[in-house]
Symmetry: C2
Subunit: 392 residues, 2 copies
DNA sequence: GGTGATCCTGCAAAGGTTTGCAATGAAGTA
DNA sequence: TACTTCATTGCAAACCTTTGCAGGATCACC
């Protein structure tokens, strides 16, 4: 496939002799247990010996074997992070926040991508189970019952899904959807479509429920279109359907779909926001770069990542896994506390929403939430004559 | 921070008694070695016993402990993937391709993000070393010598960096930069800026070298601006500098910077491509969504991920790590072959490049590579009057 | 019936580390 | 001096699995 071999060399730089605690012990003339303690309980070993051992270790290039350590302590100091789709820009901020938080607690994070596939998801939990101290399940696509079952194999914290009995970090997308619908109703829209996401998404159900209620309360009619793939392509694919449905506003499952939809509408010659208003969810970086800039419900992804790690570690610390020490053989009824945290969302009004067919002439209706707090840099780029018509 | 505790419940669903091979052995009335063989060498055990053991295992919910297995076999069936910045859309396709390829070979991939920080990078290699069979180092920021040193701790394959003696997967950014410069020169640009990326990036050096040569050959002057952070922000930050420098075209280290630069120029009232042409590198999805659409050098990220995994596994398979079996004690001079693969890049011409101040009137100069092969859907969206002016 | 081959299974060591317990020696106390 | 206390270190078991070796049974064949 169009690649060229530049070099094929061979060397005999062997992959290094693995140097163990035993080698260090021999070199420094102490017992292996002393070496072990030098690393895991330094205060128990004589300062002189300690520096000698450390010197030898340094010399030999010794690194503790975490796997072996984990085998006996039951703690790997790793946590797993299972993600529906790394390519979705929603996740990287969450991942980064989780990693940074974990690092502060001397933990490492292993990320794995499931391609939105429930089976892969389950497989990954199994694969990770014995190699990490706990797993963060982000926007899972598995069934709740399966998640509960898996949680008996390895401590779990669930993000973007409510599972009773398990610690969860949720984003208040219900509130977000409500704000979005109220915003649209306030702009004079009465026919609104909801672009659904994956069927098995908790977020999807929450949004649908809240949007339905809010629409009813506002005297608008809500058409649900979906489920769809939560991607740009998924959004573009329903553009035609949106046009036919005759709605004047759309709330999409996420920004990616919203952006795809805008592309699709554009291709059909439907102008946003003049003919159709579009609202997304997530406030990914990209939503500030499209023309028109996307009105969207901002979700606190960084906070979610941090919180989830905290909850996992907290739950983890009290119960040293694999603990069936002498005596405790039978009576292990470890009580664990499961908190569920709900994080706020915020409607960010930009340029993809405008007055609808039922707009009243006054200006009092527009922008009930004030200007975009996330774009303090001013009016940004004076684009071509298309966008920027936010009811003013 | 604006979050609400919804529930705090406690349950005594203990985190499950860890069930080992021994439990299964007891339950099915055989020796542990038979259980072990049932899983790792089924053909060696009597079909009857096998099904009995499997039934018991299923019953008890037994899962082999991969850490323990790794301890003795020396193979974890995991590979590590170290990435400079997950938030850079360049990487997800690479990650996905690597994961998929690894899965086919019955391997799992653990991804870790370094935040573009060399120290974190080194730390992660150490952390992963004993938990994976090999590591893919993508766009490393460490020094070559450190990489070589680390490669003695764990098998390494390097992506986007040339390290002699190590297997590398490279993208021909030299060729890419050359094509880009030739394209710009062909359009009549004589003052061209190169927006540099991170100082320690091999890609950065390669581009600089090739772009310099190509510019000289084309009678153009190349101004190097940088180093810069390889992000949107990094690109936006040099907009002012670009304007002052008086160049009529810019080749950016990557798409993110190119897009940031376009934003920045737009904010300064500089029109793209009428006043300044912009070329990126990577061809991330986003580059098709900006207005104007970005002309860019497409890099084969998927192929890179697949190739890298293949090379790692191939190198891995021949040398069963930690092999100092009886007899081989001293003489381990495992020869390993280190291939270096170079993958092609392609210039994708879109709307962010246009004729420069020295453009000849004829049309023969423009688009030496033909129209965008990646956008077969036709002319796309008829944007506002700004973009679309590609020398035709 | 003896010989050898084949199939299945058990035994035990090994892999690198942690950790409770015991042993040593020195210092402190009565 | 005898006794206690403390700091430091060694010993060996344990964690869970794999695997070379050997033993036992079964079978075919001469």
């Amino acid at each position: 496939m169009g690649h060229t071999h530049v070099t094929v060399a061979t060397s005999d730089e062997g992959p290094a002799v693995p140097v163990t605690i035993r080698d260090v012990a021999r070199a420094s003339g102490v017992h292996i247990s002393t070496v072990s303690r030098t690393f895991s309980a330094p205060h128990l070993v004589n300062p002189d010996t300690r520096i000698r051992v450390l010197a030898c270790a340094e010399d030999l290039g010794y690194r503790p074997n975490r796997a072996a350590r984990a085998l006996i302590t039951g703690r790997t100091h790793n946590i797993g992070l299972i993600i529906a789709d790394i390519a979705n820009p929603f996740f990287p901020p969450l991942i980064k926040a989780a990693e940074s938080q974990a690092r502060h607690r001397d933990y490492h994070v292993f990320v794995a991508d499931t391609n939105e596939d429930p089976a892969t998801e389950e497989e990954l939990v199994h694969a990770l189970a014995k190699q990490v101290d706990g797993v963060l399940l982000c926007s899972p696509r598995m069934s709740n019952s399966l998640i509960e079952q898996l949680s008996r194999e390895v401590p779990l914290v669930v993000v973007n899904r409510q599972v009773t009995g398990l610690p969860c970090v949720l984003m208040d997308v219900g509130q977000g959807a409500r704000s979005a619908i109220e915003h649209l109703v306030g702009l004079g829209h009465r026919g609104i479509a909801l672009l659904g996401g994956p069927r098995s998404s908790w977020t999807n159900r929450e949004m649908r429920r809240a949007a339905g209620t809010a629409a009813r309360a506002g005297g608008a009619e809500l058409t649900v279109l979906g489920p769809n793939a939560p991607t740009e392509t998924g959004g573009a694919a329903v553009a035609e359907q949106v046009r036919r449905s005759g709605v004047s506003a759309v709330l999409a499952y996420n920004d990616l779909m919203a952006i795809g939809l805008m592309e699709g509408l554009d291709a059909l010659g439907v102008r946003v926001p003049q003919e159709v208003s579009v609202v997304g969810v997530d406030d990914i970086t990209l939503s500030r770069l499209t023309r028109p800039k996307l009105t969207t419900v901002a979700t606190p992804t960084g906070a979610a990542g941090r919180t989830a790690v905290d909850m996992l570690l907290q739950q983890d610390i009290e119960s040293p896994r694999g603990a069936r020490g002498p005596g405790a053989g039978t009576a292990l009824g470890v009580r664990r506390t499961t908190a569920q945290v709900m994080l706020q969302t915020d409607l960010v009004i930009r340029d993809s929403t405008g007055p609808g067919p039922h707009a009243r002439p006054a200006r009092s209706l527009a922008a009930p939430h004030g200007p975009d707090p996330h774009c303090p840099a001013g009016p940004g780029i004076p684009t071509a004559a298309t966008g920027d018509a936010v009811a003013s």
